[in-house]
Structures are given as structure tokens and as C-alpha cells.
């Protein structure tokens, strides 16, 4: 059980800056994120797209913004729990008990939800029958590629993940690569390699096809794929891989007794606290009159929520407002010399 003054859920820009604010005022914190890296939507959805409305930064990409936020955290030692999703939140005599899907447990008076539009999860196949084969014959990510050796693998998707795995697995497996249109969005050289392997007969390419149905009772035997013109083909296959990118799902947050409005959480604008004492929501996931889904709003919300955390984490101390330009305390925490 990890004890911390505040637990931040979500390592997007809002979560990162809030970690900075908490550490600055002398609280410790830990951060959990379902992605394998920090940055949230900035890094997952638009790493290369320029952003023009971050105060005092005329132009930067999602990746640059993330890098700068991480640099700003350098003076502090913050533990990130990546590839983990918070599943359970329970109250125990005024303290929150939190558990992730990997079994990590936290005990904290403060939970700050900076979850954007929820956690990123793989986009799954549409046919319902696919669920029963999931993690047995149908996968959305690969943990152990050795299971595919000598087998027939049908890969769906048109991006780099689908193409890279098609190339890699074609060395030891029979590969069907199925995509809904003729154009692939992978890197040019990768697309060329796939075309070459298709010419050599090492990859069977099916474009303008999508998965229609799965066959097999206990184990997967074959799949039906359908062309844009409705023609159906049956492919014998041992495994199916789907690489359709990630989508955002609110997920377990919906079960924590919070006051939700569609996919957002209602908060006050003094502490950004939800209807549960000690649980705050900031950034894109929070909602209040006048809410703007801008990164700069997330920074402001995080700064205020961090001050609210102080009251619950240090009930016997009084929070004192200080500036980084002048405060010796803050400079000490930042590891910079006082004048």
C-alpha cells in the first residue's frame, strides 16, 4: 500500500502541471496513467500538431509541450505508474483506497482526476462474436510473438502497427493483411516493403475488405471478410490481430459515485472538487459553468485543486501563499539558489 498526499489520475498536460504544483507547495504525489508514456492526448493524438494558445509559448507541438512539462518536473522526484488504469476507488474513514488493474494500491486523502476524455483503449472489432475469442485468438496488442510461429495470422488495419507486424510475422507465419481501403497510412518505406512482400507471395493482401464474421465454436477456425461491394470471402486463420488505433473510454470512473454529466464530471470552481470530498476533477474531464476545454484552463484548475489538497493532507498546518520569485521555501524545493 502506497501512502501519498495526492494521487493524480492521468499524465496529460494538466496532470503533469498539477504534479508540479503539488510538489511546489510541499505535498508528495504519485501519478497513474493507462498509456505507456506521459503526455496524454498531446502525445497520443497530436504529437506533431502545433498548438498556438499556450500562454507565453507562441507555437509548440504536443510532443514539445509534453517535453517542457516533464522538464519542469525535473527538480522533483515523482513516481509515475504507467500502463496502469485505476479501477477501484473506495472510502475508508475519510481516506481513499485506490486500486489499479495491475494490483497497485494507494491510500490517500486526495484524488485528482485529470483523465481527459477517459483512458485510451484499443478500438475493437465490431462483430460481437469477436469478444469470445479475445485474448485467445483475437488480439489488439502483442505480448508474445512466438505463439504465431507456423500459424496463419490475419492482420487488420492500415497504419504502422498493422504493417510492421505484418512484415515481422511474415518471417515465420502465413500472413493475411486486410484493410478497408487501398491506401495505407503507414510510413512510405514500410508500405513499399509490404507491397514487395505481397508480390513475393509472403503477405496476402486484401484491400477494401473488413471483418464481417468469425467461425468456430471453441477455437477460432476461420473468418468472413466482406468487400466494399458486399462480396464475402472466407479465410482460414488461427489468429486475428486488430490494429485500429486507440479510442478514449471513460471506463471505471463511471463507477466511483461521482456526479457525471455525459462524459464529464461536475465540480465547483473554488477547489475543483467533485460531489465526493477529496476527489477533484480537472482538465477536459471536468465540467462547470463556462468551462473551456483548453490546456491553459487545466493548468489553472490544477493549481487550485492542489491548494485544496493541502488542507486535507496537512490538516494541522496553514497553507501560506508564496511566489517562486521570492520565496526561499519554494526555491529550496525547486533546488535553485536563493539570492
Amino acid at each position: 500500500m502506497i501512502k501519498t498526499d495526492a494521487l493524480i489520475i492521468g499524465a496529460g498536460p494538466t496532470g503533469l502541471f498539477t504534479a508540479h504544483q503539488l510538489k511546489l507547495i510541499g505535498l508528495n504525489c504519485e501519478v497513474v496513467d493507462n498509456l505507456d508514456k506521459v503526455g496524454g492526448q498531446c502525445i497520443e493524438l497530436y504529437p506533431d500538431k502545433p498548438i498556438y494558445d499556450i500562454p507565453a509559448i507562441p507555437e509548440c507541438t504536443g510532443e514539445e509541450l509534453t517535453k517542457n512539462l516533464v522538464d519542469q518536473l525535473k527538480p522533483f522526484n515523482i513516481k509515475f505508474h504507467l500502463n496502469e488504469r485505476v479501477d477501484e476507488v473506495k472510502n475508508n474513514k475519510g481516506t481513499w483506497q485506490v486500486k489499479t488493474n495491475k494490483g497497485t494500491e494507494f491510500s490517500t486523502p486526495n484524488i485528482i482526476i485529470a483523465g481527459g476524455v477517459g483512458s485510451f483503449e484499443p478500438r475493437k472489432f465490431a462483430p460481437k462474436e469477436c469478444e469470445k475469442f479475445e485474448n485467445k485468438s483475437i488480439f489488439y496488442s502483442i505480448k508474445d510473438k512466438s505463439i504465431f510461429k507456423g500459424k496463419t495470422v490475419s492482420i487488420f488495419g492500415g497504419g504502422d502497427s498493422a504493417l510492421d507486424w505484418a512484415i515481422e510475422l511474415s518471417k515465420g507465419s502465413k500472413i493475411n493483411l486486410i484493410h478497408r481501403r487501398d491506401e495505407f497510412r503507414g510510413a512510405e518505406s514500410t508500405v513499399q516493403k509490404v507491397q514487395d512482400l505481397a508480390k513475393e507471395g509472403k503477405i496476402n493482401l486484401f484491400t477494401k475488405y473488413q471483418l464481417k464474421d468469425t467461425k468456430g465454436s471453441n477455437s477460432l477456425e476461420s473468418i468472413d471478410i466482406m468487400h466494399d461491394n458486399k462480396e464475402v470471402k472466407n479465410l482460414k486463420t488461427d489468429y486475428v490481430l486488430g490494429f485500429f488505433g486507440l479510442i478514449m473510454q471513460l471506463g471505471p470512473i463511471a463507477n466511483w459515485g461521482l456526479n457525471l454529466d455525459k462524459k464529464t464530471i461536475n465540480v465547483d470552481t473554488e477547489k475543483f472538487e467533485t460531489n465526493q470530498k477529496g476527489i477533484y476533477a480537472i482538465g477536459d474531464i471536468c465540467s462547470y459553468p463556462g468551462k473551456l476545454k483548453l490546456i491553459l484552463s487545466g493548468f489553472h484548475e490544477g493549481a487550485l485543486a492542489a491548494r485544496a489538497c493541502f488542507k486535507l493532507a496537512r490538516p494541522n498546518e496553514k497553507y501560506r501563499f508564496e511566489f517562486t520569485t521570492t520565496s526561499k521555501n519554494l526555491k529550496n524545493r525547486l533546488g535553485v539558489k536563493s539570492d
Binding site: 465490431a126 497510412r185 479510442i247 478514449m248 476545454k293
Partner: protein, 105 residues
């Protein structure tokens, strides 16, 4: 203003007036039409404002943006009539437009 009809997957139809210059996605969000999430807010960075443009309208709306098809690869059950509604501009020419919404975003 253009009249736009959004038909939910269950058949429920909503016809609303949308101001010129907005996107078909914004028309749905401003009128609280269920079935369009628009998670990324119109920056073409997600695929949760996916619609099927009624066949007879498909060639009348503005053509796909660069990269739109890449995002549509990640949509739920895309077809050849799929569009991201954030990339369809509302003009006088599309007065009467009909779009169908997918089973889910």
C-alpha cells in the same frame, strides 16, 4: 442556415437548422444530438464524430480533408460513405443534408 437531418442508429431522426460556417459536428453538438461524441473537439485527432453521409449527398459535401481517411480507419464500422462530421462545412449547398449515425462512436 441549412437544414440538416441526423438519424440515430435506432432510427430516431433530428432535423435542425445549422448556421453557415459551422461544421456538421458542431451542428450536432450545439443541438445536443446524441450519437456524436467529438472527443477531440474538431481537430481531426479522433474518430468520434463519424457519420455516414446519405448516398445522394455524398458528392455534394466538401471533399475529404487530407488525413481524414487515416482517422476514419480508426472509426467504428466505416463504409465508403463515412465522413468525420467535423470536416464537413455547412453551406447553402447542403441545405437538406441527411447523415446517419453509426451504432457507436
Amino acid at each position: 442556415m441549412a437544414k440538416i437531418t441526423y438519424i440515430e442508429h435506432n432510427g430516431t431522426s433530428h432535423t435542425v437548422e445549422v448556421k453557415k460556417g459551422l461544421s456538421v459536428m458542431e451542428g450536432a453538438v450545439q443541438n445536443n444530438i446524441p450519437g456524436i461524441d467529438a472527443d477531440c473537439g474538431g481537430s481531426m485527432a479522433c474518430a468520434t464524430c463519424h457519420v455516414y453521409v446519405k448516398e445522394e449527398w455524398f458528392d455534394k459535401v466538401n471533399i475529404k480533408s487530407e488525413g481524414e481517411d487515416d482517422m476514419l480507419d480508426q472509426a467504428y464500422e466505416p463504409t465508403k460513405h463515412s465522413r468525420l462530421s467535423c470536416q464537413i462545412s455547412v453551406t447553402d449547398d447542403i441545405d437538406g443534408l441527411i447523415v446517419n449515425l453509426p451504432e457507436k462512436q
